[in-house]
Amino acid sequence: MSTASAKAMAYDNKGILGTLGRDGLLQIILIANTILMLFPIVIMIFSGFKSNPEIFNNPFAIPDFTNLSNYISVWTQTNFIRYLFNSVFVTGVSILSILVLGTMAAYAIARYEFFGASFILLFFMAGLTLPLKLAIIPLFILFRDLGILNTHWALVAVYVAMGLPSTVFIMTGFIRTLPRELEDAARMDGASELRIMWSVLLPLCRPALIISAIHNLVPIWNDFFFPLVFIQRDALKTLPQGLTAFMGEYTTNWGVMFAGLTLAAAPITVIYIILSRQFINGMTSGALK
């Protein structure tokens, strides 16, 4: 069966919804919701430009955007650039590893009927339900023994472990929807299995890869618990951790805190907005099922 594309639906609006009035109601719901969604975020950004009294007395006022003192104090009094770099590095390496490992596992599970494929899938699924925080002490001991405590690799290891289950879940579902004939065609063309994965499968998985990436990007970029425990050297701290520490010294200066929060949120928000098209299309086109 063909699926209803959003476009085609558009022509049916009036028919299905009947009166314009009902569309109007839905439109109002949407607008109200969007305001509710964006308002707090706008306030957060605004507050970064304000001093405490301004925040408390005029929380909604448009600030003086030239007043960058809060941002400047975040910038100058922390290793912001360093933290940012660390975060980018840790997140980047983690996401990359998650995607590579996740695709490998998903491909094996989805394509080969080997013994225990579904058992292995279940094993990955179990990881979804487990709070890894619980295992902080054994993890710590493990990393100590591996000699990667106080390095970014400890974080990468945890993040990869955290991200794999959902990635395998998403990717397995997606790969199962891809026609096998494509791989057969490549096999006939003389491509090796590795080649098939690289040249045929990966490009096709792009929507699912993007979804998995964003899906993991958010918690990994935002995490501050694991770095707290595994990273003690200031030069290795990640952005949320570095900023949380910094905010510990400014507990009562909301302006500075919001400047920090805004700066911490900015990279991922910008990435989301840039990729939102592909991400939302990917999600709604059934790459996630």
């Binding site: 100590r144 405590l149 425990v229 009562t252």
Partner: protein
């Protein structure tokens, strides 16, 4: 020799660095690396690190019950006059706070005592022509006057559980009284005793002078309200002072102990020890650690500590530059311990947890002082034999 030193005092990073610099100058060859962590997660980080045998060489540990978790695992270096000369000169209650009850060994150099009392804004008092209240009635009158002037009498909120315990001690110590404390220790009274209940009743009376919605007011906001001069008083601990000062250096602060119920009763403050500096039993540089700990037990350090960090050092002979600290240290002469922290944080359910949530409930108007006292007593009675009858 490099040793690491962990602390939960992120806000004191600069001061500690200065202290460490001074120490390194005196002891060339020893490098101390200071790391500070968010206080709320310090426990988790330290426990994990110690359990993973990767703890720091020197660390701040909490006192009393929380101290025992760390010390009980055998992770800390036992301290005595030999490895830390001068340790035994510290006052007995301070050392007791860092002693593991199981083996009677001291495991940390205590660094500060904290006093629970009322801090007030002198300027507001002066403007309104108010005096430090002596009795509970005085306090009500003063509060009324401040509120009448359009300010908050107290800045306190009770949204965070632990704030509820602080107000009991800061406002109620004199009502609770030395007698009750002694009876309690002797096992002859429990918290349903009317002297303790009276203190809770007093709190119910005074909550009308807390800000609107104080049940939803968190600690930093409460501090802020006081620091910004919107409130006349703050029931809290001596540890607040540094914070107030840094938020508003112009603030003119005064302190007074908890008011008494009847004129002539003894004024008391609540007292406890904050924590100590401990060495790691498994450190690779025990001598360096001992050297550093010795320094942290020295009067020289105590003096710097008191002056730059604005804390009350228990080290004998320390004099306080700040008149306010000097005043507090004098108030400490008449004190009862901050009871729950000092005596009932060794087992679950801890007295603090019970008291905090019961007072929070009471302050929200959903429970009575009697019921609160009863619940606290019952909770502690699950493991504390003197209450079990």
């Amino acid at each position: 020799q490099e040793i690491s030193f962990w602390s939960w005092r992120q806000e004191d990073r600069a001061q500690y660095q200065a202290i460490i610099d001074a120490f390194q100058e005196q002891n060339p060859g020893i490098t101390v690396n200071f790391e500070a962590f968010e206080a709320a997660n310090y426990n988790t980080i330290l426990s994990t690190a110690l359990a993973g045998d990767s703890g720091p060489d020197v660390m701040m540990v909490r006192a009393h019950g929380a101290f025992e978790t760390v010390a009980g695992g055998g992770y800390l270096m036992a301290l005595n006059d030999e490895n830390v000369p001068g340790l035994m000169d510290l006052p007995e209650p301070a050392l007791a706070a860092q002693t593991l009850r199981a083996d009677g060994q001291i495991y940390a150099v205590p660094f500060a005592s904290q006093t629970m009392l009322v801090i007030y804004n002198k300027d507001i008092f002066d403007d309104l022509g108010l005096e430090e209240p002596q009795t509970w009635d005085d306090l009500l009158a003063v509060s009324e006057a401040i509120q009448g002037a359009g300010l908050y009498a107290f800045a306190n909120g009770t949204a965070e559980a632990w704030q509820n315990e602080t107000i009991v001690s800061a406002l109620g110590s004199s009502i609770i009284g030395q007698d009750f404390y002694e009876d309690l220790m002797a096992g002859e009274a429990d918290f349903t005793d009317e002297r303790f209940v009276a203190a809770l009743e007093a709190l119910v009376e005074i909550k009308d002078y807390f800000p609107d919605g104080f049940v939803g007011l968190d600690y930093p906001s409460a501090q802020q309200i006081f620091a910004s001069g919107m409130a006349g008083m703050f029931a809290g601990g001596s540890f607040e002072i540094a914070n107030f000062r840094s938020q508003n250096p112009d603030l003119n602060l005064g302190v007074f102990p908890a008011p008494v119920a009847n004129e002539g009763d003894q004024h008391l403050v609540g007292l406890f020890f904050d924590g100590g500096y401990a060495g790691n039993a498994q450190t690779e540089h025990p001598e360096a650690v001992a050297t550093f700990l010795t320094y942290l037990a020295s009067q020289e350090f105590g003096q710097v500590f008191a002056n730059t960090l604005g804390n009350i050092s228990p080290i004998p002979g320390v004099v306080f530059e700040s008149a306010l600290l000097q005043e507090i240290s004098e108030l400490n002469q008449n004190s009862i311990p901050y009871i729950m922290l000092v005596h009932f944080r060794y087992q679950e359910p801890s007295g603090s947890v019970l008291l905090q949530s019961e007072v929070q409930r009471m302050m929200a108007g959903e429970s009575t002082p009697q019921a609160a006292a009863q619940a606290v007593t019952d909770g502690i009675a699950t493991y504390y034999e003197p209450f079990q009858n």
